[in-house]
Amino acid sequence: MKIKNKISGILAMTALVVLISSCEKDIKIDIPKTTDKVVIEGSIDLNNYSIVSVTHNLPYFGTFDSSMIVNLFIQNAVVIVSDGASFDTLKKTYNLNSYPYIFYKGTKIKGESGKTYSLTVNAEGKTFTALTTIPPNVAIDSLWFKLEPNQDSLGYVWAKFTDTTPTGNYYRVFTKRQTKDKAFAPMLFSSVYSDVFFNGETFTFTIERGETFYDPSVNDPTLGYFKLGDTILIKACTIDRISYNFWRSAEANMYSGGDPFMNPAQVATNIEGGGLGGWSGYGSEYYTVIAK
C-alpha cells in the first residue's frame, strides 16, 4: 500500500507546490553523541545456509569513505544458528562486490519450511539472540513484463497471485537484473505485504525494480522500472509476522528520513539484548522473467 503511505507526503507537497515559494537549506545541528550499538542483519532462506552480518552503528552524521565503511564490520563475532536439534557455527566470509562485504555464513543447517531457527551472536562482549520461522512457501500463479503507458522501453513485472486462507500470511519480494545487479534487492520503497488487504483473493500486482542503495538526490528516470531486454530474477518469499513488522518499520524509516508527515518510525527489531537489526526466515521461490 505504497500509495497510501504517501498521502501525507502528497498533502505536504500541496503546500509546497501550490504556494509559490518554499526553500530548503543545509543546516548544522548539534546532536548528542549516540552510544555504540551492535547491528545484526541475518536471514535463513529455504534450502540455503544462513547469512548474518554484524556491524557497528554509524558513530556520527557526515561523510563516510571506504575505510570507514569497512571498519563498520565486526570481524570477531561468534555467530551460531540452531534449529533446536543441532547447531551451526557460521564462518566469516568476504564478498567485496556487494553489501554486506563481510558476513558469516552457515555450513550445516539449511532452511526448511515450517521450522523455527534461533540466532545467537557474541560481539563486543555482549550476547544477542533472535528467533525466526520459515513459513510454508507459496507460488506465484504467473509473471510477465508489461511496458508502462507513455514509456518506450520501460515497464514493470506483473504478477498474478492467489493468497491462501486463513489470514496471517506475509510476503517479501526481491528483484535482480541478471547482468546489471550484483545482488537481489528488495522491491523499491515497500517490499513487504500483509494479506490483511487480500486474504484468500486472486489478484494482480506490479513488481517494481529494487535498488540496492536508494539515493534520493539522484534523479533517476528509470527508478523502479525494468527495461526491454532485461533478464529479471524475482525472489518471492513468505515471511513470519515478526519479520514483516521489522521490514515494514525499517523501510518506513529508510524512506522517510525524518519526514514530518510520518510517525517517527523506530525500527521494530527482533534482536534481544540491546542490538539493532533483524533475523528473518524466507520461504523463497525464484522466477525468471524476460522483459520483451
Binding site: 500500500m1 498521502i7 502528497i10 498533502l11 500541496t14 503546500a15 507546490v17 501550490v18 504556494l19 515559494s21 518554499s22 526553500c23 530548503e24 537549506k25 545541528i29 546532536i31 548528542p32 549516540t34 550499538k37 547491528v39 556491524t55 554509524l58 558513530p59 552524521f61 557526515g62 561523510t63 563516510f64 569513505d65 565503511i69 556487494s98 553489501y99 554486506p100 508502462e148 507513455n150 496471517g168 534487492a185 528488495p186 490483511v196 488487504f197 486474504n199 483473493e201 489478484f203 494482480t204 500486482f205 542503495f213 539515493d215 534520493p216 524509516n253 529508510m254 528520513g257 525524518g258 519526514d259 514530518p260 508527515f261 510517525n263 517517527p264 523506530q266 525500527v267 539493532l276 537489526g277
Partner: protein, 796 residues
Amino acid sequence: MTNLSIYTMLRRTLILISSFFFFTICLRAQLPKYTISGYVKDAASGEILIGANVYVKETMNGAQTNQYGYYSLTVEKGTYTFVVSYMGFNEHADTIVLNQNKKINVAMTEKVITKREVVINGVKENNNTTSTDMGKVAMDIEKIKTLPAFMGEVDVMKTIQLTPGVQNAGEGNSSFYVRGGGPDQNLILLDDAIVYNASHLFGFFSVFNSDAVKNIELTKAGMPANYGGRLASVLDISMKEGNNQKMQVDGGVGVISSRLTVQGPIKKDTSSFIISARRTYIDLFIKPFVKKSSNFYGTSYYFYDLNGKVNYRLSDKDHVFLSGYFGRDIFSMNSRDLDFKNSISWGNATGSFRWNHVFGPKLFLNTSLNYSNYKFDFDAQQSEYDIHLFSGITDYTAKSDFTLFPNQKHLIKFGATYTYHTFMPNNASAKTSGVSLDLGSVVKLYSHDAAAYINDDFDLSKKIKISGGLRYTFFEPVGPFDRYIENATGQIIDTIHYSKLQKITMYNHVEPRLSVRYELNKLSSLKASYTQNYQYVHLASVTAVSLPTDIWFPSTEIVKPQFGTQYALGYFRNFRSNMFESSVEVYYKDMENQIEFKEGKNPEDNIKNNTDNNFTFGKGWSYGSEFYLNKRTGKWTGWVGYTLSYTKEKFPEINMGKWFWAKYDRRHDVSVVVSYELNEKWTFSAIWVYATGNAMTLEIGQYVLEGNIVGDYGPKNTFRMPAYHRMDLSATYTGKKHKKYSSSWNFSLYNVYSRANPYYIYFETTGNITDYNITTQAKQVSLFPILPSATWNFKF
C-alpha cells in the same frame, strides 16, 4: 484526583452556590424593584451589539448585553439616568422614571470621527478588572482589519494567536494551542455549531471570513458551565445577522482571493439576510502558465467559503435565525511521469436554527438545532491502482440555554444539550486493475452526547464576585460496532459485535467550575479560577505537524474520556483611566487520558481492525505564566504579550515510559502588536512574534540495513527546532467616505526580514555504499520569505 475529593469539592460548590443565591435573594426586601430589559443594536445596520454596557448612573448598577444583544437590569423604584455604552459608539443616555417593569430597546449610533480608535477589547472600559472572566479575549473585527494580513486575507484566528497563552503551531500547521492543550482541546463554535477543522490550506487561512463575522470571544481559563466538552478553550464566533435597515454590499479584492458580502432587509426592522462568499484564485492565475505538455498539467488548489444567515423578528419576544456555513479546500495533482492522478478535498459544513424567546423581563431563552460536518476525501490513481480514502464526523445537536436575571446581583445560566455523533475514522477502498481489494467495510462509530448545566455569576459583596457552576455530562457510544480483540502480538483473535443502538459503554461525570474576583480597588483586582472538564472526542495525529488527515475519534470502551483540571490565578490592573490594561496570570493544568498512536503505528493500520487498538494512553501537564499589557486608546494602540510555559507528557508505552516535552511545548512566546493612526486616512501596524522552536524527535544515530541507511531515533521530543520569529508590517488607507460608497486599501508585508523559519527538518543521505561513499546532511525546509500583498476593500 480521587472520586471522594471530587464529590467533596462538588458538594462544597453546590452548597456555596445555593447558600449565596438564597442569601442575597432573601435578605433584601426594601423598596419595590423593577426590571429594565431589551435589546441593544447598531442603528445603522440593525445588528445587535454583544457585550454593550447598560447601567443606571445614580447607583452604577449595570449589566451587559448577552450573545444575542439582550440585557436585563433590576433596580429599585426611582428616577434614573439610564446609560448604554459601547466602544466606538455614541453613549446613549436617557432619564427614566422607573415605577414598573420597562422594555427599552436601544439603537446606538456609531462615532464618526474616532471610529477606528476602537480597541481590541470592544467591551466596557474596565471590564477586565471588574468581571470574573479570566483568560478571556474578545476581538474587534474592524481593528483586526487594520493589522498586517498574510497574502491580504484578514484572519481572526491569526489575531487570536497573538494574545498570550494562545500559540500558533508555526507555519503550515492548521491549529492553535491554548495553555499546553492539544489542538483538539479547543471548542470552536460558529453560531452554536461546532467547527471541527477551522483552517484552510494547513492553517495559512482560517475558515472564518472576516466580513461575515460579528463577534469573537476566546475563553482559556475559568470556563463557565454553559460551555463544555473541551479541556483547553472555547472560541465562540457569531456571524453577522445582516443589515435590516438598508441593502449593503462589502467586498475585497486581494492578491490570491476575493470576498463579496451582500446583506439587507427582507422586511425593514424585522427581518434581514446576509450572504458572504470567498474564493482563492491562485489556481486560475497559474493555469495559463502551466503548459499542456508540463508534467504537472492539471495540478491546482483553491478553497472557498459560503456563509449565509437570515433572521426574522416574530415579535418583541421571539426572534428566529437560520445560519449556515459551507467551505471546501480542493486540491488536484497530476504527474504524467509518475502516471499519478490525485484529488483531495476537505472542509466543514454547519447549519444552525436558533430561536430566541423572552419569557419576561428576567428570563431569556435561546434554543438551537445545529448540524455540523467535517469531511476529508482522498482519491488517487497510479498505473493500475485506484484508491479512495475518506474520514469525517457528523453531529446533530439540540440545545436550550436559559439566562435568568433574578436581581442585580445574579446572572444565572442554565440549560441542556444533546448531540448525536457519527464518526468515520479513516476508511479506505482500493482497486487494482479493476479488482477491489478487501479493505474491510466502512467503519462508522455512533454516540450519544448530552450535558446539563447551571452557572451563577453573582456579587457576594462589593469586592467579591463569584461565578460558580456545575456541568453534568453524559456520553454513550452505541452500535452497530465490531470490536476486534487482539492478542499480545497484535493478531486478531476474536470479534464482539454490537447491534444497532446497542450500548457499548457509558460515561457520566459532574464538572465543577468556579471563578472568583476580588476587587482591590477601582483599577485593580485579583482573580482565581478552578475548572474541571471532560472531553469525549479526540483528535489523533501521527505527524509532527497537524494536517487535515488527522482523525477525530470518540471515546469508546477503550478510549477513556480526556479529563482536565485547571487552576489559574491572575492580577489585573488598569492605568491612566483605563487607557492601559495589564494582567499577569499563572496557571497549572493537568490532563488525563491523552491519546497518541503507538510507536510506529499509522492511521491506515485500522484495516480490519479498530483504530483505537492502535492508540496508547497517557497524561499531560502544563504550567506557565502570561503577561499582557495593552494600550487601548489613543493614536498609538497595541499590546505586548509574553508567555512562559512548560508542557510535558507521559505515556507508559512511549519513550520507555519516561516523560517528554509535548511537541507544542513552548518555553517562550512573545507577541508585539502596534498600531499607529496617523490621520483619518492612514493607519500603520506592525506585528512581531517570537516562539521557542517545536520539540521533535530526531535521529541521533544511523546504521546500515541491506545497504541502506536507517535512522536510530533518539528519545522522544528531545530536539528543538530553531526559534520561530517574524515581523509583519501593514499600512491601511481609508479613502474618503462618499455618500454611496467607501473603500480602503491594505498593504501588507509578511516576514519583513525574510527569516527562514523551520517548517521541518530532515536528513538526506546521498552517495552509495557500494561505491564506498555515503554522506548524510541535515536539511531545513522553510515556507515563506518576505511576501508583499495588497487588498482593496469596498462597501456600498
